[in-house]
Symmetry: C2
Subunit: 160 residues, 2 copies
């Protein structure tokens, strides 16, 4: 398991944007990302979970700090077209990623990351994964601690 | 934009599992994925969005069909330890991914995908992204249509 992870990446330069209570019907996320694409805004993580019974769900994404104001402005203007309840944002987040190969075959990679962060009381705000990466959003003040404990947990610093 | 996408992948062999109202405190997701890791269950997408004010949030992940029963059984047994409200699952989903390079710099990739699916009335159940990929969960009956419209939308079939 440990040899699957090649590195831990941290990025404090991203801001988190969340639109709450977006209609869970075709076209909603298209209406959110079309103005952002037209303005050539860099979008990194996009997270949407399955909606509950109310027919709506939240959508979160991250942008570089430099693009935040523009993104918020565009989405405020698009509120009627998109249909959301609140537009929230938070600049005090960090994206922490465990990067490796063959992640898909192993819940252990994710479990190691979540366990190591939990042991130090670091709260996970959001999660997204791909075959090569598990990424979480945490509070930016915990970045250094998170990177350190994950290096140890995955045996990247020789102490694992 | 179109040259950034190299392919469209579809996987109907995954089942979606959602735990609702998980406590948004350190340790919750560690308690969910530890038993799955111990049982060597393959977990693919993991999606958790930012919790709303109630201090809880839903967690969704996908597993191969073959692992579903085992995963549900483990999580039912862990309900007290994890602390969740309902354990939901759905086998009639498909994961559709637009794969390419340099995604991070471009909301356009996501916007193209969401727009193409919306135009055909395909509802997006969940979203997760990485630098090389945008993945969505849709109803499995729409798989072939989704793959076809996305090939066209990204110019992969020469018609784009
Ligand atoms: C919530 C959002 O993803 C919606 N289901 C859509 O397809 O646009
Ligand atoms: C919801 C879950 O991610 C929780 N915040 C945790 O850190 O485990």
């Amino acid at each position: 398991e440990q040899q699957l992870i090649t590195g831990i990446a941290a990025d404090k330069n991203e801001a988190k944007v969340t639109l709450t209570r977006v209609a869970d019907t075709p076209g909603s996320v298209a209406a959110i990302f079309a103005p952002l694409a037209e303005a050539a805004i860099n979008v990194d993580m996009i997270i949407q979970n399955v909606g509950r019974d109310k027919g709506e769900t939240d959508v979160t994404f991250t942008v570089p700090m430099a693009d935040l104001t523009k993104a918020l402005d565009l989405l405020e203007k698009a509120q009627d077209k998109v249909g959301y309840n609140r537009l929230l944002h938070d600049t005090r987040v960090a994206k922490i990623s465990a990067v490796g190969v063959g992640m898909r075959s192993n819940a252990g990679i994710a479990s190691t990351m979540f366990g190591a962060l939990a042991d130090r009381g670091i709260n996970i705000q959001a999660i997204t994964t791909s075959e090569i990466k598990v990424s979480v959003l945490i509070h930016e003040d915990e970045t250094e601690l998170a990177v350190r404990v994950l290096h140890t947990a995955y045996g990247l610093d020789g102490e694992g």
